[in-house]
Amino acid sequence: MDRGMVIFLGALLTFTSSWLGLVLLPLLPANSTYPVLSALRVQYQEPFIEDQGGVVTSYPRPLSGSALRGKAIYQQNGCMYCHSQQIRPENFGNNADIKRGWATRRTVPRDYIYDKPIMLGTMRTGPDLANIGVRGYYADWHHKHLYDPRMMVPGSVMPRFRFLYEKRKIVGEPSIDAIELTGKWKADLEAGYEIVPTGDAKDLVAYLLSQDRTTVALPEARE
């Protein structure tokens, strides 16, 4: 066997091991003929459905409408590069993720089955956003924060997203959507003008408000 063939076969076999184990195997459906293989696959790829006295909970739910469009805004602006969307389990880091109020349980694979693309994130320059929709931040707070983060959180290093907002002259009545500025931002705005979110801004906020991976207590999250 000549050298070239040795290198080729060796490179092929070593690489194939991880390609099969880490890529191909998880792509196959979890419940299948061979129990051993089934245990190695990513479990629970179907939504969790619970029927309690006629009230049916199906979780997770795919995004639609404004929140779905908002996900694209989040994706295009690279929000993932500062914000994670995953909660680590209790035995990680003194259970800090949960103690910080970012969740009431860890996240598991089933939380992400409809995420396309999945944006788990690898940096926490900013806080985790896995459950930002149920942590008490209402739409108006988000608009003000996106317009200029330092207005809501002094000292923040988050970029401002004023390009998602429109400054326009008030015609007749102020818009119902207009956001309320405070402090020096209010002082800087000329009289007779208002700041109104664009459709993109509203979609982005709808996406943020849809983020909830903690309310439904998945059985596998308690393991």
Partner: protein, 504 residues
Amino acid sequence: MTEVGRNGTDDKARYALERARIDASCRLPTLVWICSGVIWLLIGSTLALFASIKLHSPEWLFPDVSWLTFGRVRAAHLSSVALGWSFSMAIAVSIWQMCRLARCEMIYPKMLIVAAVIWNIGMVVGVVGILIGYGQSVEWLDMPPVVAPFLVTGLGIVAAWTVATFRNRREPHVYVTQWYLLGAMFWMPWLYVTAVLVIFGLDITLLGMNLRFSPATGVVQATTNWWFNHNVLGLWLTPVGVGTAYYLIPKVIGRPVYSYYLSVIGFWALALFYSWAGMHHLIGGPIPAWMASASIVGSMMMLIPVAAVALNHHMTMRGHFHHLRYSPTLRFVVFGAIAYTAVSVQGAFESLKSFSEIAHFTHYTVAHAHLGVYGFYAMIMFGATYYIVPRLTGREWASGRMIRWHFWLTAIGITLYFVSLSIGGWYQGLALIDANIPFIRIVRGTVPYLMSRSVAGILMTIGHVIFATLVVMNVCGFGRSRSGPTLFVEKRVTSVYEPAALSV
């Protein structure tokens, strides 16, 4: 390695002539890929400075321009330096080394130039696409999937060329660098095609046939993504970097590699263990436990090939470290080789849970990443450029002083980068796992370190501008022509380089 002839001078002259012929045949394609790399280095460095400054001073540098928002600039930076600079240089140094080690003149040079054009079309569309709002938020694969056919074609041509050159070789002995380059050229296209298909899927109609491949759902996207990203580092950049070091160190000091058997262990252990380590980017995340465990095992086992390579390089260099005073190539390459050992050892331990608990999600990992792609890989590519270009153009570098400035700016730059972000990131990590510390306090705590990183980045970028200037000067024929290599300082002993003695 080619053997020194029995009839000393005759054989030496013959081999020198053969090398000169090979170099002449490699000239245009290699220079095209090097220039591609240098341009992407400058673009990537500019984007890097923007990203770094915006992170601690978000009101600076056009905060209201949508295509310069941090999230987009950061992704564009990564694509520019990882896929633009790093890939271009990998291909440039690989094609030249493959010709040299095969001891035959370059075949199909035009195909390599076509590949460069196709690759760069994809890159421009991709990076501009990210900035104007088509970024995918998939790490290392941010460029819109429309560029995938360009990148696959460009890379595929180079990979096929590599196999053809190898089969066409005149030199029967297969040197360790060739194993690494062949491995890299085999693995990279497979990695990229797999990642794009699994994460983005395929839905096209070709010649009346509808080809569909549904992308993965849920966390499988993430596991495939990090399998890909980590393997680009370890099965593409690492083989090219380490293989190049294996070629250049013996070349410059005129001594053979210390141990054949260590190089065998180094290569095969890398091939076996590295590809399992990728999941360490997701430790603590929503992935099956067995994947996380496998990644920690793979990461720790990497200590074996890393030790083999480090030992081999060190023992080869032993007794010859004084050459570092003179040779730019050697200094950059040895810096890179030492950084390789450091970043790999760090990476192995970083995967352990108690380490990962603290360092994950922080700037510490950014420091680690840059020690690898810059401290190791980029520095070796600088060294390789300083060796290869004069042999292609027949002109030596215009100024040893400028090379000195390049070296010190980038060496001090990456050291400051690594130290400041590692310390800042570590403190950030310790604070993140203490739920009593308010988040904004943690953010403010990182700011001084982020500012140090910007300073480091400025130093590195100035170094890159000097490097680019030197390359342009050489290619365009400016600067003095010399009869010996450009060194850092004058050398009074007889040169170890072939064939003439120094004249300064």
